[in-house]
């Protein structure tokens, strides 16, 4: 990679890491399209790099969570198993399916993420629940299955799938939203680790090319964590929903060969 492009990737990743942290969608939703549509990377290389960025951004988020009681580590360990299996399988599948399929799937998932940001305020008010509420066994079973599915998509596309994680944990498993969001970041680390070896073994993660993206995402997530409290939720919806919607359309068009 030329040094000029490395600097571009570094700066863009700082921005994407910050945007991902502020929007709550994670960096992958923005980073993968930036690397593929913007810089012409192969989607598998972008996904592998994004998984590494996911670990890096999780470190930044974790710094913000230190000392807080939000993270439900018990739920994290249980759901982590399902996520891990899903992500490991997804990362293997990413090498087997066509690039067009990966683009189309990314388009669908991005559209879903945009929708989830739109409905966030209603989710928060419609499902008031407390930690420790009784959870039905069918809910737990469905929750585990859903987390495995979310892990599969994460492993295939190199995204954290924060929107999917939070929806499953909040709606199905009835974790309070802040706890679901905090636990989601824990799960992202597990999913990323389960997926990275497959990408690494296929040669989809060139260390030197990934370095600026990962370093940028790490510092960006720290920056985003600081900005988070200052950016109103309404601004997040107004700015990010059209942005993610645009990403969804572009990835879909790429998948269709347009």
């Amino acid at each position: 990679m030329e040094s000029g492009q490395a600097v571009v990737v570094l700066l863009a990743s700082v921005a994407m890491g910050a945007v991902g942290a502020v929007s709550g969608l994670g960096g992958g939703t923005f980073l993968v399209p930036l690397l593929t549509l913007g810089l012409g990377w192969d989607i598998r290389t972008a996904a592998g790099t994004s998984l590494l960025c996911l670990v890096a951004t999780q470190l930044g988020v974790r710094r913000g969570l230190r000392g807080s009681a939000l993270l439900d580590e018990r739920a994290g360990v249980v759901l982590g198993l399902a996520s891990l299996v899903g992500a490991a399988v997804g990362a293997e599948l990413a090498g087997a399916v066509s690039r067009r399929f990966l683009y189309l799937l990314f388009g669908v998932v991005s559209a879903g993420a945009a929708g989830s940001v739109l409905v966030q305020p209603w989710l928060g008010s419609s499902f008031p629940s407390q930690r420790g509420e009784p959870r039905g066994s069918w809910r737990a079973g469905l929750g585990l299955l859903s987390m495995a599915g979310a892990g599969l998509v994460s492993g295939m596309l190199g995204i954290g799938g924060g929107a999917m994680n939070v929806a499953v944990m909040h709606v199905l498993l009835q974790l309070p939203l802040p706890a679901a969001a905090a636990t989601s970041s824990f799960l992202n680390g597990v999913k990323a680790l389960a997926g990275i070896p497959a990408y690494w073994a296929r040669g989809d993660v060139p260390s030197l090319a990934a370095a600026p993206a990962v370093a940028g995402a790490m510092w960006g997530s720290v920056l985003g964590g600081r900005l988070l409290a200052r950016v109103p939720a309404r601004v997040v919806r107004v700015v990010f929903v059209p942005l993610v919607g645009w990403v969804a359309v572009q990835m879909f068009l790429r998948g269709l060969g347009g």
Binding site: V55, L59, V78, L84, P197, S207, A211, V214, M218
Partner: protein, 91 residues
């Protein structure tokens, strides 16, 4: 346990700086290019080793708090992660 957590955080920060150093070394080019490759690999390995170390700490904490089932699940997570890594290293 807090010391462990602080050590993990330090490792994460160091990996970030090592990765940045690799970007700088790559930008200089020439003989620095090979150093950059080495730094990038070292930084990425340090980075991905942080979450398993935290998981290990979590497992120990559950065990000390007499939550053996959860400690067992955390151990299973670690073992599965190890299996995934080793499978690809061997292949």
């Amino acid at each position: 346990m807090e010391r462990w957590e602080a050590a993990c955080e330090l490792l994460g920060r160091v990996s970030g700086w090592v990765l940045l150093a690799s970007v700088a070394a790559a930008a200089v080019g020439g003989a620095w290019g090979r150093l950059a490759e080495g730094l990038a690999r070292a930084g990425l390995v340090a980075l991905v080793s942080v979450p398993p170390l935290r998981l290990l700490a979590l497992m120990v904490r559950f065990w000390r708090e007499d939550e053996q089932a959860l400690a067992g699940l955390a151990a299973l997570l670690l073992v599965l992660l190890g299996v995934v890594v080793v499978r690809h290293l061997v292949a």
